[in-house]
Symmetry: D2
Subunit: 363 residues, 4 copies
Amino acid sequence: VNTFGDKFRISLFGSSHGNLVGVFIEGLPPGIEIDVGQINLELSRRAPGQSKVTTDRKEIDNLIVETGLFNGKSSGEPFVAFVRNKDVDSSYYDEIKSTPRPGHADYPAFIKYKGSNDYRGGGQFSGRMTIGLVIAGSIAKQILSRIGVNIQAYTLEIGGIRADPILEYINSSFIYSTENIVRVANPESINLLVSEIEQAKEKGDSVGGIVQCEVQNLPVGVGEPIFDSIESRISHIVFSIPATKGVEFGSGFSAAKMHGSEHNDEYYFENNKIKTKTNNAGGILGGLSNGMPVVFRVAVKPTSSISKTQDTVNLEQLADSKLNVRGRHDPCIVPRVIPVLENATAIVILDLILMGNFLSDVI
Amino acid sequence: VNTFGDKFRISLFGSSHGNLVGVFIEGLPPGIEIDVGQINLELSRRAPGQSKVTTDRKEIDNLIVETGLFNGKSSGEPFVAFVRNKDVDSSYYDEIKSTPRPGHADYPAFIKYKGSNDYRGGGQFSGRMTIGLVIAGSIAKQILSRIGVNIQAYTLEIGGIRADPILEYINSSFIYSTENIVRVANPESINLLVSEIEQAKEKGDSVGGIVQCEVQNLPVGVGEPIFDSIESRISHIVFSIPATKGVEFGSGFSAAKMHGSEHNDEYYFENNKIKTKTNNAGGILGGLSNGMPVVFRVAVKPTSSISKTQDTVNLEQLADSKLNVRGRHDPCIVPRVIPVLENATAIVILDLILMGNFLSDVI
Amino acid sequence: VNTFGDKFRISLFGSSHGNLVGVFIEGLPPGIEIDVGQINLELSRRAPGQSKVTTDRKEIDNLIVETGLFNGKSSGEPFVAFVRNKDVDSSYYDEIKSTPRPGHADYPAFIKYKGSNDYRGGGQFSGRMTIGLVIAGSIAKQILSRIGVNIQAYTLEIGGIRADPILEYINSSFIYSTENIVRVANPESINLLVSEIEQAKEKGDSVGGIVQCEVQNLPVGVGEPIFDSIESRISHIVFSIPATKGVEFGSGFSAAKMHGSEHNDEYYFENNKIKTKTNNAGGILGGLSNGMPVVFRVAVKPTSSISKTQDTVNLEQLADSKLNVRGRHDPCIVPRVIPVLENATAIVILDLILMGNFLSDVI
Amino acid sequence: VNTFGDKFRISLFGSSHGNLVGVFIEGLPPGIEIDVGQINLELSRRAPGQSKVTTDRKEIDNLIVETGLFNGKSSGEPFVAFVRNKDVDSSYYDEIKSTPRPGHADYPAFIKYKGSNDYRGGGQFSGRMTIGLVIAGSIAKQILSRIGVNIQAYTLEIGGIRADPILEYINSSFIYSTENIVRVANPESINLLVSEIEQAKEKGDSVGGIVQCEVQNLPVGVGEPIFDSIESRISHIVFSIPATKGVEFGSGFSAAKMHGSEHNDEYYFENNKIKTKTNNAGGILGGLSNGMPVVFRVAVKPTSSISKTQDTVNLEQLADSKLNVRGRHDPCIVPRVIPVLENATAIVILDLILMGNFLSDVI
């Protein structure tokens, strides 16, 4: 349940207010140079408190690698790394223990674990668990970059306001530049989306959005038939990221309105390479990469933690109740989802690359 | 890659033009009565040739159960069952072997398997592989019905034309009634959607749609944290069904436009049961069922096999080429996706039910 | 539970008196020529009724390959093959249903499955299930032979009578020659062991023995740390073969009486290859192959089915009872264990070879 | 490869001279009280430096539990715990990096990992990795004790000298009493076995032995058919413990010399319970527990690290070489294998208990 993958297999552990959150990785090929600085860079992109559109909580997530590296290279052992949680005041969660927060896992988790789970801050249902995804994914990214595979996500929409991506801005240096706090691929849209978030924030409310992710330069034939289709694997991990509500590949839901003659991507040769004229397939046919960019979109709900008073129930008194969720929350989680989604995607792609023996020449 | 699940583990085998297609099931609890007639009923709903909006090919898929049943009950052995493929003329596929069909897996499969795969009719990338899903799912459904869990899918949209579901028609007897060939939950919409499909068919074209699926009466707490969230598991299997392009739960992509105060489903007591006022969560919080109906939608692309001439490439001559896909095809696959989706969902739900020990009283 | 392996993953299905017994294989690399005649040859070595020292039941096990081959090569699909059971009279098993046979799984299986399992002939606890091991193993052997890996088992001891192996007779053509019905690697011992078995047979009794197995030409470094040591994997599958009571590698139990200075295998160079002077390690250090032959021995109990009257209990009457096991039984199963053990070992070795990417140059 | 188990799934991590050694556990049922003191007690039994017959190295292995416990109970999260390695001088291992120690994994690991593995102290092939087995096993033991299942191992033989077990001494308080440094179940034998070890120690040599392990009060029907037989699972983990060379159940290798009429354990009723007159089956039939004690024996080789000069090769100079293994070593590892074997067995038994739903009433 906390484990994912076949050849590159990751297990997330820890919880929001416990000692730590981290990842156990099995199947990292031995003898590969790992840049720990790169992992920290990815973690800093995910960290809270980076800008006025994220939570004010400022946490520095210091990576501790306990095992799996030897002389800067993967050693063939499992890789275990984590980030320690700061001393946090958890007393608030004792107060609200029996009044589940709407939109959070509190209620079903209480029932499932009969009260024995660590409920503080959502326990292992917290968004903080994605730290392990980022650690594992940033290692996967480093390996994928050796065969030229690049993964880039960016914000497409926040609160219904579109930021149409512009090709020259779809790159990591623009998306993660300090002025681009909403992480769009369109400089004109930054202010529009920022002000949309700020309006929600002022009202103690939150707002959702859509993220797009592209995988470039994947060899043809990555993915496995039926249950290990690229889409099956990516959607699986996408829905392990809190706040995701939908995923679509290529044409996605718009395919429902199209005709086959319009939707089928016709083949042609360009410079001796096989391409398709359109990319409604999102780079995937029969679950396998077809050489075109893999493109998918993810719907992100508005953050569940809001300042407004909400109706809930009291699980001990078995009665209706009210709840004020305290603390400083992300008015929009979309910008912080971007690095998580990239790294989660890298985990899937590396695993499929290893399953298909596409790395055997490199490692 | 052909195997899915943890406690109720299924493996699909066979191929479109090989001897058979079937399923291997491990983890079916022993001593459970299995009604083979029910499996055949579900297979007949999936079968081609049922109406004027599906393909004219008339195939009767006779179920053969080879092992796993003893005196009408599950025996504790693996369950192995299949349907034999009819003698089909595969010569056509030799003709088009090197001109991959747009929208099909032909091209990436050719590259992946270096030509050694069974390419006839798409091989194991064929929609015919879903027969195994239907067999396994209809067993899962029978077990789930013992604890009152019900799964119902229906058509929501075809070619952009909406068929808003009406509560009293969301049931198996209406959805699968012989006059309801588009399988909507709204009698008024039948003709509109049928004529949309017929128009596409007349032009030798095809059309896509959207399917909705509901799971009723799930106990609270079904699903496992992180990688075995209900959404992760359902989306995983949904994208193993050919022609699916997107999946969304509850509010889905519309969540992207909403505020948290609007999206959060507030709790209240109704007849001593905890409910939520809205169901934007689609019955799932933190990956766990919260007692409300699980609701999700799936985008289905227009069938890739169309009669119109299409551009493609010739993989041997390494040159651009033309292709006419022969044969009788489904102008709209949506109605046949309905039973497949229900049964695929049943596989996931039973597996999660077993993982969470929710059946221990019953079996 | 019926599934074993990681990259080359096999699942056994069927039962002794059901329709069939067979194997489902996932992970067979695509594009490999498979000689079905070779599989049948291995099956014939396992089949009953081959000589006076095995059961008189004459069964011809005809292999049916349903899927996974295309034009004589592996297609990338799962491989599914089986042998149909002959029409057998199962009425006898109804008689003894409630009087469990000593030495068989009848009693614990009855309790475990609460009577819903197929008890006829032991159901899936029958030795007949090893047909699936032989089918999968003979495919594994064919692949291993391409990199020069050879696996040979032979009888070392029957009823306490030793047949010391002689190097020149440790080969398949002698071990499986028609005159060598006890399958020893020593022509002098044949008659001694045969008469030992015949004496037991005359008394309606059975006798046990020891089998030795050698794996030659394994590359250095095959096997994975800790839980996928060669010994862990081989012993796992060995104890899935009915009638096995012990397994030891290299020095085995005699190591218990040795000193370290005597037991350690010292290294030296011979023709630029690293060898060890002794092979107490049985070719394995830290779970990994060290370049010397892998050698292990398996203890086989005397067949549980004997003609003598035995004490048992009646599970319905809850009282002591007597039992006469009818039918024609193997007075010694050791000769039939030889091909099963070789093929089971091949399954393990191929899986570890694939896990360690030792085949990437070949396939 | 570092992961074992199905429902109670453990992964070992770390290495001999790295930061730490520990265990990741998934599937620990939630809400169970865990006594950390009990884990420390088991660790202290495994620790080096306990007596004159083990190594002089005195290490105190302090357990750190990072996650998985909440208010003294299992929380439903993965359980992660480890022991930090003391600052050790690893310079010696740089000296001998290219001269592999006979009897250790050094040589095949060097080839397998092409030099990128942590070779110091054997890396992850070190006996120190069994710390993770002890941590996980001592948790398993605590759960098993709730349904009355008890696991006890003891020394049966050292250097060929037998210590026949006496029923009244087969218990944890005698086996682990401070005077019983060889951990036999026979007070008369203590001195004999101690002096056998001391003689080996004086010569800078080491000596092997045999350990017996018993599992009492297992319900009937524990174990799963074919590949999850009790024997398959126990032998799998036994051979993951360094220094093991053989394993046998019940009659074991002596079965090879027996007749069926003698070997079959006949059933009878005793106080309304079904028992067998003998226990050649070692409590297991068809891989399932039959209600009698599970009994097995493990052969332990003499420790590979000895003070005597040994022949080896130099992997860089590609020439024969000599080696003196420095440091303080166990002259006999058998007494320290006892707690490791008990805990490893507990891991297997708990996993099979959970697979068979035998705990559902308790937890």
